[in-house]
């Protein structure tokens, strides 16, 4: 066993306790309060930017859809936005709408997954079971359209690979109607539950100024009162034709981020309904002859925030540089601002609140320097749940 010399150090990882992915956090403690945090990432570095330089432009979407299984619609979309900017082409209208539908379905299933996990971690396993149950029909729709529950690989330069068949639209509508009722119920449960309020409000606050300093994106920024959303700010696909709201909450705590995500699911349902109503007839792809020399910045609003791709072409058939920035790359370092000063029982949910995204498995060790005890994953989970139980007892 390692002997602690100076400061008590709490090691979280190398696998993330909530998202069950490879990452290492080292928390320095004073009693039970976190005084410093350091992170180690990239246990799963696959060199995708380097591989991309060896592939042809039309092969890259399949590569970047594997950057992340959950965001496998947003990454290719950001990439094709960049390449279509270089080529100066606009894909057919129907393809633009199909892109919207796939991306919003992805957002719904990703947010539902997070809501379930967040519930699980504060000891609300019913929320976990329900949220994941309601998520399942969304994955079924995605599978029916693209052939896969994840890793859709559905966009390509100049259009889409698979169409949304017109016969499927009534079914999509019906599934959305069912889902909407369930989500409304979940929203009501979360917003009315005094224990969830007490447990999540004021926890892991990321102030508006810190959010700007750490350049965070997506629900993490919107939960801190920064109203940014690529879909509205720099519309791509068919978003400029559709009507929806950008959800923001000013508080910056875990509760605010949960509210943002839940309400965004309802907005996504609204977007898909409009998209299937307006879905124009016509082809879903066009011929793209060659990509001229030039450079393009493409971005798309993934469930976790802005996904940014920069592509440079020298007129050949492969990108000479392809930079990818996933939203978690800027959201995760903001833990420095949101975790320091927190109680360790709140750290798991705070770390989870940005919905970080890496790759898979689980393990966790806690070293309490004062008592020289090693807790494991179970006991940290227990600490988090005990705090919920304590609050529950005080309130009820």
């Amino acid at each position: 066993m390692k002997k602690i010399l100076n400061k008590p150090v709490l090691a979280v990882g190398p696998f993330h306790p909530l998202q069950e992915e490879a990452e290492f956090f080292q928390l320095t403690l004073d009693g039970e309060i976190v005084t410093d945090i350091d992170m180690r990432i990239s246990y799963n570095h696959r060199g995708i930017e380097a591989i991309s330089e060896t592939l042809q432009f039309d092969q890259v979407p399949f590569l970047v859809s594997r950057v992340c299984g959950i965001c496998s619609a947003s990454h290719p979309l950001a990439y094709v936005n960049a390449v279509e900017e270089i080529a100066g082409i606009t894909p057919p209208e129907r393809a633009q709408y199909v892109r919207v539908i796939i991306n919003e379905l992805e957002r719904i299933h990703s947010h539902m997954l997070w809501v379930g996990l967040a519930g699980h971690f504060i000891g609300y396993d019913t929320v976990f079971m329900w949220a994941w149950k309601y998520r399942e029909p969304v994955l079924d729709i995605l599978e029916e359209i693209t052939g896969n529950r994840n890793n859709y690989g559905n966009v390509k330069v100049g259009g889409c690979r698979e169409d949304v068949p017109n016969e499927m639209i009534p079914k999509i509508r019906q599934k959305l109607d069912e889902l909407e009722k369930k989500v409304e119920m979940l929203v009501k449960v979360v917003l009315d539950d005094p224990v969830i309020h007490a447990r999540l409000k004021g926890v892991g606050v990321l102030t508006k100024e810190a959010a700007r300093q750490y350049a965070v994106a997506g629900p993490t920024a919107r939960g801190s009162g920064i109203a940014i959303d690529v879909r509205r700010d720099d519309p791509y696909a068919a978003y400029s034709d559709l009507d929806w709201n950008v959800i923001t909450q000013p508080e910056g705590d875990v509760f605010a981020k949960a509210v943002v995500r839940l309400l965004e699911v309802l907005e996504s349902i609204k977007i898909i309904r409009q998209a299937v109503d307006k879905l124009p007839d016509g082809p879903i792809d066009m011929e793209v002859k060659e990509i001229p020399a030039g450079e393009g910045c493409g971005h798309a609003e993934a469930p976790r925030g802005e996904t940014f791709h920069y592509v440079r072409s020298d007129g050949g058939n492969r990108p000479v540089r392809h930079k990818i920035r996933a939203p978690s790359f800027v959201n995760v370092p903001s833990f420095r601002a949101s975790c320091i000063g927190q109680h360790i029982a709140d750290v798991t949910i705070t770390l989870a609140a940005v919905d970080p995204c890496y790759s898979c498995t689980e393990r966790l060790a806690v070293v309490d320097g004062h008592n020289n005890v090693i807790h494991d994953y179970e006991s940290l989970l227990k600490l988090s749940r005990e705090k919920t139980a304590r609050i529950k007892k005080e309130i009820l």
Partner: protein
């Protein structure tokens, strides 16, 4: 900030720039030398209140380019500082992490994959390459060998407090 206002404000730092390019209405590139990049980025982040998105490092012919992408979300415009590092042997540029804490990771990553030294970076440890990746081999440089041999006992991605643990 509206587009016209943004364009007129950019005139304020014109003496630091080589040129301003605008290939599309909402894509603006500010070309400058590496020495001026910090001042330009400071103006964009603090003066114009733009959002920092990310930086891209590129091994271009004979020099390195660092692209600092900033966004003006009101108009969906990217303002990108394109800084040229002319010294291909010992590339270095001033770090913007003291100015923008959110740039810490991308500068560490660029240091890993391109071997660019970010001066005054508070914490330029290895971030993304694996522990046995050899020192001095930079995978995104054009001259990088296809598959370098893993190094024996190379520097690992140690954590801040590692020296406190025995």
């Amino acid at each position: 900030m509206k587009q016209e206002e943004l364009k007129s404000r950019l005139e304020e730092i014109k003496d630091k720039l080589i040129a301003i390019e605008q290939p599309r209405d909402n894509r603006i590139y500010l070309l400058c030398e590496a020495e001026d990049a910090y001042a330009v980025d400071k103006f964009l982040f603090e003066g114009l209140n733009l959002r920092f998105v990310i930086a891209t490092g590129i091994d271009a012919e004979g020099c390195f380019e660092i692209l600092y992408h900033f966004a003006n979300d009101e108009t969906g415009t990217f303002v990108t500082t394109r800084a040229f590092i002319r010294d291909h042997e010992n590339p270095s540029i001033e770090s913007i992490t003291p100015l923008i804490p959110g740039a810490e990771w991308i500068e560490r990553e660029t240091h890993d994959v391109l071997g660019i030294d970010f001066k005054n970076h508070p914490n330029l440890r290895r971030l993304i390459l694996s522990d046995d990746w050899p020192e001095g081999v930079y995978p995104l440089r054009k001259a990088c060998p296809a598959c370098p041999e893993p190094a024996e006992g190379s520097k690992t991605k140690e954590l801040k407090n590692e020296k406190d643990i025995e």
